[in-house]
């Protein structure tokens, strides 16, 4: 049901990028869990650095993807 609404409202490549972001966020959560369990301590600075570094790389890739796919999908020869 919700899938149909999403697919009607947004183009599939935008949805794909959004769910890629969700998938990468899930991996970040897993990395943080492993880090916290490994150290047996929650170090906010370290977790913050991991999050900023990881999300920076992910957002850069998704931003490049957004520009490329927008150009390609909207202007098919």
């Amino acid at each position: 049901m919700i899938e149909t609404i999403l697919m009607k409202k947004f183009s599939s490549w935008k949805l794909s990028l959004f769910f890629s972001f969700i998938a990468y966020s899930a991996v970040l959560f897993f990395i943080i869990v492993v880090d916290v369990f490994g150290r047996r301590d929650f170090d906010p600075l370290e977790v913050g650095l991991i999050t900023v570094g990881y999300m920076g790389a992910v957002m850069t890739m998704l931003a490049i993807g957004f520009i490329v796919f927008k150009k390609r999908m909207n202007s098919r020869i």
Binding site: E3, T4, L6, M7, S11, S12, W13, L15, S16, L17, F19, S20, I22, A23, Y24, A26, V27, M61, L62, I64, G65, V68, F69, R72, M73, R76, I77
Partner: protein
């Protein structure tokens, strides 16, 4: 790309000797992948050599190409190879669906790719993008073997969807940034020049597109740019990542372009 950071990391941990050996290893690996990427892809599809294409090669003015066949229900034809050694692979589905003249126009398109020098880039991209995209299949198998249910159950499909979410963007970016949709129009034009059958080529392409709509089969999305048209179909929500892999021009434009050659 990996050739640059890997030796730097090796230098930080192992010093100059580590840097040199890792750099040499990556150069050898890159050369091996470049040289054998075509053969790796043919092995991927378990294709077997069945003969050579001489008549079309003579018409196109290129050395004769080896023809390979593999089992697949979809009508798939693609050309692989680097360094001037190219091979054409044809699926059993294509042999069943096309008659002799349809097969000829489709094979002539592949010679178009050879003449336009698209094949080495297509092959390298297929190897890297295809390998990345197959991670989602590994995720599915992991879910199945991990006891999450059968392949049609929601949990394994969702795990595959997440896996595809991780690899779809980098994998499709490799294809989108390195390949131009115009290469297909140029290959169509060469096919028309070689066979003088624009109507047949247009009809065959449209026929294949209709066929795909009725008989969708999962394919490795990282390989789809090598095929004559986009064979991926978005059947359900879990397939949305496949939309990123379309590097082909729209069929209407292709048909207009093909028929425009005679009108």
């Amino acid at each position: 790309m990996i050739c640059i950071p890997a030796p730097v990391v090796a230098f930080l941990f192992l010093g100059p000797i580590g840097f040199g050996s890792v750099l040499l290893l990556f150069i050898l690996l890159s050369y091996g992948l470049y040289r054998y990427s075509g053969k790796i892809l043919l092995k991927w599809y378990k294709a077997e050599k069945v003969g050579t294409l001489e008549n079309l090669a003579k018409k196109a003015g290129v050395p004769s190409l080896d023809m390979y066949m593999f089992n697949h229900h979809h009508p798939i034809i693609f050309t692989v190879g680097t360094r001037g050694n190219f091979d054409i692979a044809v699926s059993s589905g294509a042999m069943g669906l096309f008659d002799a003249s349809e097969l000829e126009v489709m094979l002539a398109r592949e010679f178009g790719h050879v003449l336009n020098d698209d094949v080495p880039m297509n092959t390298i991209v297929a190897l890297f993008a295809g390998s990345l995209a197959s991670v989602s299949t590994l995720a599915l198998w992991g879910a199945l073997l991990g006891g999450f249910g059968q392949d049609f159950d929601p949990a394994p499909r969702f795990i595959r969807f997440l896996g595809m979410g991780l690899v779809a963007v980098p994998s499709s970016l490799i294809a989108q940034l390195t390949l131009s949709p115009s290469r297909e129009l140029l290959a169509d034009a060469v096919s028309v020049e070689l066979t003088n059958e624009p109507q047949l080529l247009a009809e065959t392409l449209e026929h294949v597109q209709e066929y795909i709509k009725h008989y969708p089969i999962p394919l490795n999305p990282g390989h789809v740019h090598m095929f004559p048209l986009n064979l991926l179909s978005l059947e359900e929500f879990y397939d949305i990542h496949l939309s990123l892999f379309n590097t082909h021009p729209d069929m209407d434009i292709r048909v207009r372009n093909i028929l425009g050659k005679v009108n």
